[in-house]
Structures are given as C-alpha cells and as structure tokens.
Amino acid sequence: MEMHRTSLPMGILVTLLFLFLLAPVLLVFPISFSGDQILAFPPSSWSLRWYSALASNTVMISAFSTSFVLAAIVTALSLLIAVPAAYAIVRLKTAGSEFLFNLFTAPLLLPTIVLGLAILIVFASIGLLATFHGLVIAHLVVTLPYALRVLAVSLGAANMACEEAASSLGAKPLTVFRRVTLPMMTPGIVAATALCFLVSFDEVVITLFLTGPRLTTLPVELFNHVERRADPLVASVSVLLIIVTLAVVLIVDRSMGLTKTFVEKK
C-alpha cells in the first residue's frame, strides 16, 4: 500500500474544516463544567454542579434509561427480523423477495416527519400512543431499513461457495448457517447493531409525536428541557449522549477493521 502524503496547506484546510464542523459539539464540553445559572460561553466560573444536577434529575435519568432500554430492544428485534429477511432475500431468493426488500427499505426514502405523522394517526386510533411497545414498533420502522440494507450487503459479499463447501462436507442447512453463514456476516451484524442502536437512541422526530408526560426518551426530554429553561444542564446531558454515541461509533469502526480481515483476497 502506498502512503498518502497530504501537503501542508491541505492538512491545515482539513483541520479547519473539521474544527468548523465539530466546534458546536466541542463547545458542549466546557459548558457542561460551567458554574453559571444560564447557558453561556465562556462560562464565568467552573464547577461540577450540572453533573450533580443531572444525577439528581429523576426525569432525565428515567428518560435516559428508557432511551437505552428502547434502543437495546429495538436493536435486538431489528437483527432478529433482518438477519432471516436478508438471508431469504439474498440467498433463497424466494418469490417476491425483491418486493419485500423494497417494502422494508422504503421508509429510508420518506421524510421522517411524514412518517411520524402517519404513525401518530395510526397509533392514535389503536391506542398505542405514549406506550413503550408503541415506541418499539415506531423505531423498528426506522431501524429495519438500515439493518436490512447493511446485512443484505454483507451477506451478498460473503462467498456463497463457502456455504456450498460446508454442505458438501456434510453440514445440514442449519449447521451451515450457524457455523459458516453467520460468522461470515459478523462484520455486517456488528455494523447493523451499532447503526440500529444509534438511530433509535438519537431518534427525535417520530418519537416527539408518540411520547407523553409519563413516557419520554432522552433526546425528546432534552428538547423539552431547552424549551422550558436555558440552564447548562442540557450540556451535561449532551456530553452523556456524545459519550454513548462515541462508544457505539467505536464499535462500528472496529467492525470495519473486522471486515478487512474477513473479506477474501480477490
């Protein structure tokens, strides 16, 4: 592999661009250590008071745990549905699988706000508003297309001859799937897990329509909080969000590395 050498001006330009893009995010960190009553930069004094305020804010804490549990359940369900679906579409090529794939991935093309409204109307009529399982279903509508895309691509890239070799070596179909297909899909599964988790954890637009005073998620609560008051609590919540997000992104990055180790030399 040839090393890419970037010229100095190019390097400076790229650094500036990154700073520009990241500045708002980076600002959140100093602000979260502010000792002030109101949101301002730079803070006039430093303290950990907004972290302790966060720790004793039961609404935020419960919204965080709702978001976390919701994202975990949505991710698990997405995989449970998308892995077999991707297999049926890519490998078995069952009748109508093309149609199924398009149907599943269609929400990717719709404006989220329209999707949110549609779900609101449907859920209102069947009493799913402000319920946890309602949220799970709504988030699945958003995460499944991602999961299916990623898994279908990763399965498509896996050499089908490996599965045939396994079966000719005496492995029954389920064993082939467990011992060969699934491990070959691992990078895709890791990536899909991370993606689903992030999408669900960050989802605001649709969730706004579906949450109520008794059930709310962290991003929605953050939104509500900012509307009511302008204290630096939101900064400490943001830091929490960023840390969870970064952790997930790191997993994705690791899985990309994994992809390279798994993909065969051509």
Binding site: A165, G170, P183
Partner: protein, 370 residues
C-alpha cells in the same frame, strides 16, 4: 443423434465396473438446456476430465453430481445408491471450487477439521487426521494461519486437503488450477495427480484447458453446448477425434476443406489427400496436427505410398524458440506447419514453393455431416 444413443447404451449396460453413473442427466434453465441428456460411467479410482469451452455445462454437471444444483431429469448413482434426490450434505463428496471457498473465519486446521466435525469423529482422531491431511499437501507448518494469509497455491492445497480428509466416495474438482500462475499450475497438476493415485479416489475434474485434461486424466469427456462430443482416453481423443470440434478443441490443428470423391480420397485444390476414414462423396474437411507436417523446399522429398503431399507457397516464417512455424499458403487458405529448431538451419525465403507432407494415418478427415 446416433452418437448419443450409443453412449447411452454403453453407460447403462456395458462397463459393470462403473462406480459413478450419470444416466440421461439434464438441466434446463427456463427453456435453455444447459446440459442435455448426459450419460457417463466412471470407474472406481478413475480420474476423468470434463473438458469443453466456456458455457458448455461442465460446472453445471459437476454441481449436479454434488447435489448443489437439482437435476431436471435423469439419474445419478454411486455404486448401488441412487443419489438423485439426496441433498448435498448426504452425498459424501469432496468438492474443490475454483475460488477455493475456504472458510475465512477459520484457521487452516479448522477448515480441514470441519468435515470431520460434521461426522462426529472424536477430537483426538480429528487432530491426527487433520495433521496427516496437511502433511500430504505439505502445509503442516501453516496450520494456524487464516486463509487470507496464504498464497493462491497454498489455499488451493488447503481446499484439496479439506475435501480429501473426510475420505469422500468421489472427489469433484472445478477448474482448481485456473487461478494459479503457469509454473505453479504445472506443479499442482502433478501433485493432484499423485495424491489422487495415492488415495485411489474416483475423481471428476472440470477444466477448459486441454493440456490439463490430456496430461492428468485417465479419460476425457469432451463437451459442447451441453452435450458429450466424445468420451475416450487422452490418446483416443487426440489421435482419433470423433468430430471436427474435438479435433480442433483438443490440441492444435490445421484445417483444409475439399471434396471427398468416394474412394477414400479427398481433393484439395488438385492435390489428392488420402485418409483412413471412408467418406461419402461430397464436401469434406481434413485436419492435421501442425507438428506432424514436414516442410520441404528442396524439391527432393521422396514420394511414398503412406504419405500425403500438398504443395503451397511459403508466406512467412515465425521463430518461436523451441519451434519454427512455417506459414504456408495453399490456394486461398493459410496453414501452419511446425518443426523443432536445430540451431544451424538454412531457412527458405518467403515466396519459395514448398511441399507439405504427412503420414496418411495422421490425416483426420470429416464429411460435411459431422
């Protein structure tokens, strides 16, 4: 059509020793016939090549034997067992793919162990047999590597070890050498043949490389458009091709058309060529291997009874190192004759009248019907 019938009779009745049998096996995709009523009987321990141009149905045939592609008709049996409806995991066949298809997430040793694990063999015996198999292909040192850390030739040998370690009843190889460079291909050719003989395993070898088929295999099945053109030993197929297609596909040939006059001779632009084939009067074609042709420009070549002679004009000479190629114009056609180089040759100039001669028995003649 008569041709086909004969093979069918041969496969189902003759040859009681046949181990792997294909009877009227066919495969259609929509209304496209990829393999048409194929009959084949392979003896135990035999190495048989399926040879033919791209798209003639070799891989499809092999995959039907392995059970990876369902047949559209016909029967496949091994010994007394009818395997036609048996799924691949119940067929006990070792398969080596063109892409090797090693499991990327397993080490070399785990790859080779896979088939043994599927057979619920105790761990200790698995370890021993994996070691043996890897030693057989000289890869014992690389047991803990991953497939992507191996060269093409090494991957190929792992694939071979993985297929053989389970002692399958049949070994199926689909162009296993086509991804290797020329030198390695030569080496692997010998190695595969040696291992095949040592293990004594019945083997079907798919290739589109005639040199591979001729040099490695006991018998060759020449295929074209989903049909068998000829089944025979390498010598049969090379020396006594059943059709012009076989003659031109296996080995190199020069090709001239003329008219059969009914008494065993063929008229080519005034020269009379004799052959062993009794052709009916009408348009005919003769073929000769370039290296069987002698080129004479001294005008002193002796006329003999068992030698065909044809006169032409030298167009040009190509020096290819080991051999010299004489491009000779005969009427409108140009043919190539080949001779070994000797070092101190006096070569004629272009435009020199020359005489080509070759033995009558080296003349392959075909009527227009073939």
């Amino acid at each position: 059509m008569m041709h086909q019938k004969n093979f069918a009779a041969e496969a189902s009745q003759g040859d009681p020793d046949a181990y792997l049998r294909l009877e009227g096996v066919s495969k259609t995709y929509g209304d496209f016939e990829a393999v048409r009523s194929l009959d084949l009987a392979i003896g135990k321990g035999e190495l048989v090549a399926l040879l033919g141009p791209s798209g003639c149905g070799k891989t499809t045939t092999l995959r039907m034997i392995a059970g990876l592609v369902p047949t559209s008709g016909g029967r496949i049996t091994v010994g007394e067992t009818d395997l036609t409806a048996v799924p691949p995991h119940g067929r006990d066949m070792g398969l080596v793919f063109q892409s090797y298809a090693l499991f990327p997430h397993m080490t070399v040793a785990r790859n080779v162990a896979f088939g043994l694990e599927m057979r619920s063999i105790p761990r200790g015996e698995i370890d021993r047999r994996v070691k043996e198999a890897l030693a057989m292909v000289q890869l014992d040192k690389l047991a803990e590597r991953r497939p992507r850390e191996l060269s093409g030739g090494q991957q190929q040998r792992v694939a071979l070890a993985r297929a053989l370690v389970v002692k399958p009843s049949i070994l199926l190889l689909d162009e296993p050498l086509s991804n290797l460079d020329a030198k390695l291909r030569d080496e692997m050719r010998t190695q595969i043949r040696d291992i095949q003989q040592q293990v004594g395993i019945t083997t079907v070898f798919v290739t589109h490389d005639q040199v591979e088929a001729l040099s490695m295999c006991d018998r060759i099945v020449v295929m074209r458009n989903g049909r068998v053109e000829q089944i025979g030993t390498p010598v049969d197929v090379y020396e006594r091709p059943a059709t012009p297609f076989v003659a031109s596909f296996v080995g190199r040939t020069i090709r001239l058309s003329g008219t059969a006059n009914g008494d065993g001779a063929i008229d080519i632009g005034g020269d009379v060529i004799r052959s062993a084939a009794g052709l009916a009067p009408g348009p005919a074609e003769i073929m000769v291997r370039p290296h069987r042709i002698e080129v004479d420009w001294t005008g002193q070549a002796k006329t003999k009874d068992d030698v065909n002679r044809l006169s032409g004009v030298l167009c040009r000479i190509t020096f290819v190192g080991d051999v010299i190629q004489y491009h000779v114009g005969i009427g409108d056609a140009e043919v190539i004759a080949e001779a070994s180089t000797t070092g101190n040759q006096q070569l004629p100039a272009a435009g020199t009248p020359v005489t080509l001669s070759w033995r009558v028995e080296d003349t392959m003649a075909f009527g227009s019907g073939q």
